[in-house]
Symmetry: C2
Subunit: 586 residues, 2 copies
């Protein structure tokens, strides 16, 4: 094995073009492919920047080259030559040239990798994560990490140009349980005490506004010790923003051009400003607080059409304050009866008491609910816009049940019938969220966003009497049915903050213990302020076209919160635990 010494590459493996013909070059990289033709050998040499073909037919180089294996690290000295016309590769940036090897040095050996780097074939994710250093060599991960770097550069440039300061907030913070579970860090110096890793820098960024820093942002790691359903990570990265003297509209006007700048990096032009929709409207029309606007099939209230229905279950639902709502599958008049039955079965599985359907066929009205009357059903098909082409699906129950079911069914139908245009980017600000959510288990109000969110000015007076009806100055940014960000205008009046804690069932004493310094801070001249946090991992995955955020994170953890490469977490020396004044529970 040769040492590098003062050897430098003259060019990367993605750099050589026809203009370089005749130049003496040095390439450093990995053996990507070997094509041994007997009397001549072609090697592809790879680095992050591309692949260059090198070639020799002369001994002793030929013999030396034949001993190379893929993924060995080599230095190639040679002269750039044009490829013969039949070997030119137009798909490759370097495809018009090759390097005739003058000298070959092996800088490091390589064991046979458990999967191919060059072929980009499917590899089980566990294997990719265990050998992440090899997975990172593949084009897919390199592309994703380069994109992510470019995104963060664009984000920082955007904020810098607008007078925002990036300020680092601590990772070792105080545990203030509320919302998700904290990761804790035992203190060695203070026995029995713990730091917590931040779920977000919420309090610190508000403190920065109180401190007069005016405009803050940070691309920052946050932590949640939750059971990882779906596509979550124990540590994730957010673009955290806070603005003094901010109205909701000011926050929107700062974030929309940022999103445009971010999408620009991926070559996507988007239109601003974004639409806004109150939470209640989103729930009614789409059965979701993060509606995918690429999909039509809006939910429609059909209660009026069936006000007099003789059909018992629907009549009872309506009579007891419930709703009858439905949606139309476009072209659904033509699908097979078996397909219709599958949809009904799926709805039942999703928790529906029943799913009624109706459509026009060549033989006239077809329905699963004859008892609702042909006249009313025909009217419903007209009113809903199903007409002769659509399939009308309906369900009755409480408003919450019906919204939830039809919202989920809508997305499932869109997928089933391929009704989503993946080239569209539909942004939406969902606004006017309820301030509180009723926790039926604990029988108490909980904050829908977080306990620092301001009630709307109009509802302030009735916060105590009718908490359930109070809307908040909270907003989510939704893209194609995914929440990519959320924020609010914060409470800047210490008295309102105290009131809110009381409504959340946090006693003054407890509030003082957990948030005392923050309520104190509010009393020393706090400017009105608000902000937002965007999910960087999610945004990067969307732009990379990756279904999972794990593919835009260099070293992600599994759903069991394990790093398969380094095998973390792991047991530690008992001495380390002792220093932390801890012992195992059992």
């Amino acid at each position: 094995m040769d040492f590098l010494g003062d050897l430098y590459r003259t060019h990367t493996c993605g750099e050589l073009r026809a203009d370089h013909v005749g130049r003496e070059v040095i390439l450093l990289g990995w053996v990507h492919r070997v094509r041994d033709m007997g009397a001549v050998i072609f090697l592809d040499i790879r680095d992050r920047y591309g692949v260059t073909q090198v070639v020799t037919e002369a001994e002793p180089l030929l013999g030396q080259a034949k001993r190379l294996k893929t993924e060995m690290v080599v230095a190639v000295f040679g002269q750039v030559a044009p490829r013969s016309p039949e070997t030119v590769n137009d798909k490759l940036d370097t495809g018009h040239v090759e390097v005739r090897i003058g000298e070959l040095r092996v800088l490091n050996d390589a064991r046979r990798p458990p999967f191919g780097i060059a072929d980009e074939s499917f590899v089980a994710e566990d294997t990719r994560l265990r050998y992440r250093y090899l997975d990172l060599r593949r084009q897919r991960m390199q592309k994703n990490l380069i994109l992510r770097h470019k995104l963060t550069m664009a984000i920082r440039r955007y904020f810098d140009e607008r007078g925002f300061l990036e300020i680092e907030t601590p990772i070792l913070t105080k545990s203030t349980p509320e919302g998700a579970r904290d990761y804790l860090v035992p203190s060695r110096v203070h026995p029995g005490e713990f730091f917590a890793l931040p779920q977000s820098p919420q309090i610190f960024k508000q403190i920065l506004m109180i401190g007069g820093l005016d405009r803050y942002f940070q691309i920052v790691k946050c932590f949640r010790d939750e059971d990882l359903r779906a596509d979550r990570q124990p540590e994730f990265t957010q673009v955290d923003v806070e603005i003094a003297f901010a109205s909701q509209q000011l926050v929107f006007s700062m974030i929309e051009p940022l999103i445009a700048a971010i999408f620009e990096v991926a070559g996507i032009q988007i239109t601003t400003p974004f639409r806004t929709m109150p939470y209640s409207e989103a729930m009614a029309r789409y059965g979701s607080d993060k509606p995918d606007l690429r999909v039509g099939m809006e939910i429609q209230d059909l209660g009026a059409v069936f006000a007099e229905t003789p059909f018992g279950p629907v009549r009872e639902a309506l009579a007891s304050g419930g709703v009858l709502r439905g949606l139309v599958v476009p072209g659904g008049a033509k699908i097979s009866r078996a397909e219709v039955d599958k949809i009904v079965a799926e709805a039942i599985e999703m928790g529906a008491g029943g799913l009624l359907w109706a459509r026009q066929t060549e033989k006239g009205l077809a329905t699963s609910a004859k008892a609702m009357g042909e006249e009313a059903l025909t009217r419903a098909l007209e009113v809903s816009g199903a007409g002769n082409d659509g399939l009308l699906l309906m369900t009755a129950g409480t408003e919450a049940q019906v919204s939830k079911l039809l919202g989920a069914l809508r997305l499932s139908l869109a997928k089933r019938f391929n009704l989503v245009d993946p080239s569209r980017y539909e942004f939406l600000w969902v606004v006017d969220f309820p301030l509180f959510d009723w926790d039926a288990d604990d029988k108490r109000w909980v904050a829908m966003h977080h306990p620092f969110t301001s009630p709307s000015d109009a509802d302030l007076a009735r916060m105590t009497e009718a908490p359930g009806e109070v809307t908040a100055k909270a907003y989510d940014l939704v893209l194609n049915g995914s929440e990519i960000g959320g924020g609010s205008i914060r409470i800047h009046d210490p008295e309102i903050q105290r009131q809110l804690f009381r409504l959340l069932g946090i006693s003054d004493e407890e509030a003082k213990l957990r948030f005392g310094f923050f309520i104190d801070a509010l009393e020393f001249g706090t400017p009105p302020h608000g902000g937002i946090a965007l999910g960087l991992d999610r945004i990067a995955a969307l732009l990379a076209g990756e279904p999972s955020i794990r593919d835009v994170i260099a070293f992600p953890k599994t759903a069991a919160a394990v790093d398969l490469m380094s095998d973390a977490p792991s047991a530690v020396d008992p001495r380390q635990m002792k220093e932390l004044h801890l012992k195992p529970l059992a």
Copy 2:
């Protein structure tokens, strides 16, 4: 108290100039100063961008303005007017204008702060940290955080332009005890197991090089659970860099222009390339591995001059392989005898067996060591360059003792006689560090940098036979006597890595358990690579002219690793500990 509503500022408090005279403006900010002249009142309104004087003499505004207290948050509507010539303030950017108040709204009340924001007077650090949100309003902290933001922007721009990718490495990592103590994070999902917060992303950045990412950087939080002597923080920020196919010279050539770009931000021009000096030379000439080159007073070996000395202690030291070395205080021939005695006393306090001195006076040679002979002493004064002006100080002992003492004495003398020019920036690469340090307590070799540092090519063969003599491809970047960065060329040969672990007394089995995945990774085609980490906090403090890194960190911890503002760490709910399968030790 008024609400903000859709109110926006038209200008910041640092923006208005003579051109704005006549304009109707809205300012939002804090009441900085109140000057109540009876029939007229002047208020200074402050935000991050500056201070603007606003004025009224008309009721009801006058009465309203008189009720304001400093640090209240206000909105001022009014017209820009020129100041009368006698009230123009040339020191203030906005000092030529004032705003005649048309309307005044109080956006938030303020309690009397425990220290003045406007006066910038001295406040005890504990008080500043407890009320950090008020301390952050003062100009000093605002200036420091703005500078820090600009530094990180410049660093990112520099690396981005040179093809480096910023890649996030995990915060929840594996504990691999070596070097400082890890902060641990108990796993809830895996009882008895722990994550560790990274002391540096060392292994991950090497993995990124193995993964072919070629050039990596990251501005990243690192963690050390150490007793915080001096100016350390439990979490600190480093500029982390790694380069594939790197020689030491390549790393230097990437970092020197970066440092120039960083200093440029603070308006300081520096010269590159930097000097380099082997560790052994730095120790011999300056008694330090981080010499402050703004100070002269080099250490000189005077053993040859006194080879035949009749003076017992020196003769014995030299005979037993020790050294006699000294340094010259320029102009020291003129200082009082009392001052000389103080220097001797200080040296004794620093641990010197004795400190000999000699100088020429009007009455001839004066010395504390007559026994060493007038002739030899006179020669020593000549050889050392003390001549008739300098004071020669000497001590004898083992090389290590003498270096350490004279190194410390040199810095102390520089301070005492004001021999440091604070406007100079003296950079130095200290190179050729020993690979190992002998741990006399544990009686074993420890890695001087870290166990992934490559031995020098020349010493590779004798790594096993003479570990103490092996130099490493390690380097520190020193500025004015502070280490601001350090790095190395890494081991890329798995066999050498295994050998090194063995020399450190880490068995193959133990190495496999702790670093197995990494040694594995080295076998799959690892390019030669190397890098560096720079201390961002220290660099920011140097450029801000702050003696402590706490003044360039928004929310630092005390020497007892406590956040005085939020009171972290703190006790947690016993339920939280139980979920982590832990209980207190006693």
